[in-house]
Amino acid sequence: MSKTATFERGIHPAYHKELASGKSIEKAKLPQRIVVPLSQHIGAPTQAEVNIGDEVKTGQVIGVTTSFVSSPVHSSVSGKVIAMAPFPNPAGKMVPSIVIESDGNDEAVAYKEDADYMHLGADEIKAKIKDAGIVGLGGAAFPTNVKLSPPKEKTIDTVIINGAECEPYLTADHRLMVERSKDVVEGLKIIMKSLGVKNGYIGIEENKPDAIEAMKSAISGEANIELYTLEIKYPQGAEKMLIKAIKGKEVPTKGLPMDVGVVVQNVGTALAIYEAVRYGKPLIERVVTITGEGIRETRNMMVRIGTLMSDVIEQCGGLVDGAVKVISGGPMMGFAQWTLDVPVIKGTSGILVLTEKEYVSSDDYSACIRCGSCIDVCPMGLNPSMLSILSEKGFFDEAKEYNIFDCFECGSCAYVCPAKRPMVQFMRLIKSQVKP
């Protein structure tokens, strides 16, 4: 195998991928009831298009938007709207949501298939992507059509499919690359077409040899698509780190990937794009890794958006005794849940259950001993030690001089901190107190 690409600094946490990496994607049971938040993305929330008592079909639009930076939401089952109220979302916020009782028939609206999809124009592709409600499925949930519509002065020459999946435990993208490699590549080609780009790349961390093999054979006939094997290192899958690894370019500080001519899309997003453009299928389900030492059976499941986590967990045999933490997403950047009655949303890549054994308390942290470990690992080259001290003391304005807004809260600093300081919390506190 050729040399593996990577970025500077970063950490090597225990990955625990083996818990779920061998489990094929199974279809989760059709939920009896779904809770669909009207906002599942970065940008303007959608407006409810239905009322209590309305009958809806699978794939029917239930939340509409007129904003550019937004994304419509669809019902993932057929049935009846029974409630519309704020519900907790996986990030711990109360979000206006639509509750639908399934009729069990899963009767879908007519999807508009298009076998000749590679002949579509860029605007048609983007319109289909927007109508399908596709957002970045890696976790950030940024509306995909916006990402595919860079301002005119930015020339995009490269599309990268992010198959790094650097978050420990998670294997959703891994399984998709093994099982749906052809479709992911088709998704990439559609993205390249929509941007008028010639160069496509796929980056996969070395710890997924079967995914690398599958993707290699899937791109064997594609002259313009190249696969990069990436070093196993967190946060290799962060956009800026991935671009550095593959293109050797650094996105300028406060900048975006498009500033270096790159658009990055997650594996799951590429697949959703393919399904939307080829089959007219809206984003009503996604692959979720249910894993961790605290769940009875680890799985990778295709879950309908809006299915409650409690429902999914039950299908995996429930929690083991001693399970103390349920996380939406991965262990490095995911959100701890206070209730399991939260829905799986578009950005939910995993449901991770940790037991007392893996749990590390952040309650007893001590003063920064200035060991500098955090500086050695910060992928953005910041000084987290200094920032945490400034945050602790309330010197927020001074923290701006240390480029706090380049921090994307990957948690590498907190991971290595011997004083167990809640570094991410300190960073968020500063960000909440000063303007960029």
Binding site: P252, D311, A323, P331, L340, R370, I375, D376, P379, D406
Partner: protein, 339 residues
Amino acid sequence: MAAEAKVHELIVSVSPHVRGKETVGRIMWTVNLSLLPAFIMSVYYFGPRAVYVTGLCILSSIIFEHLYQKGMKKESTVGDGSALLTGLLLGMNLPASVPFYIPIIGSLVAIIITKLLFGGLGYNVFNPALIGRAFLLISFPKLLTSWTEPTAKFIAMDAKTTATPLGILKEEGLTQLMEIFGSKADLYKELLMGNTAGSLGETSAIALLIGAAILFFRKYITWHIPLSFIATVGLLAWAFGGDTGLFTGDPIIHILSGGLILGAFFMATDYVTCPTVRKGQIIFGIGCGALTMLIRLKGGFPEGVMFAILLMNCFAPLIDRSVKPKMFGAVKAEKEQKK
């Protein structure tokens, strides 16, 4: 929606939800262990008095920290091993012959004044052990500069007093030093082993380097401070340390004698009191080296490592504010701004 009842209590906390294995205690105890070879050599050369002096330093450091924190109604932090480390380092920086009250006073200054009054581990500006020793050197100059011969072989209680190699070099010159040790090779050998007069834990370069190797292996220290410190000392010793003009000095004598090895690997690298940014650490190391040689060659003391590190401790916060790590995407941002 009743699955919640089956789960006991869900813990909600900020990400990341997994943490690395390092703790402050693990680091401190490892540093303590890494000093064990040097401590054993100090007992070999200076006998039971080495145990007595170092033990008193450790014991009183721990007791002072515990009592202070109890008195202030705070949680005692003696378990993290840092009080022991301060005591150990202070003991290793004292001559074997000091009376019993010296370690106690030194520990009091180190732990109470230098460390705890500034807020405890993480907040102290100066290296506690070095302030303790500096206080003692200034207050009890005679006691702190009467050195004994390293002839105990674990057992002998009393030994003749003598001067340290650096003391001889400063007062009587290189010729006299050669007369005592024979050849340069013999001198280097004795300096490496630690068979010379000096502070308890500073004389055996070999034992200290074994300990330093452990810290490197565990990545608790990096090359930046020790290398820049020692290289600066060596360079300046070669340039200005000779009797017969520029560039005739012997860098090896200056590197191996006195407290340089102990200071460069174990004291200048003290996390709390040195800069955190690696580039800044090089500046810090060069500053330590330059001040050490300034004192050794032009100052009133034969040895300058302690004052050099303490003076550079003052600059650590300033260095940290001036030297920033290499930021991701920084170069291009500047270029773009120029456009």
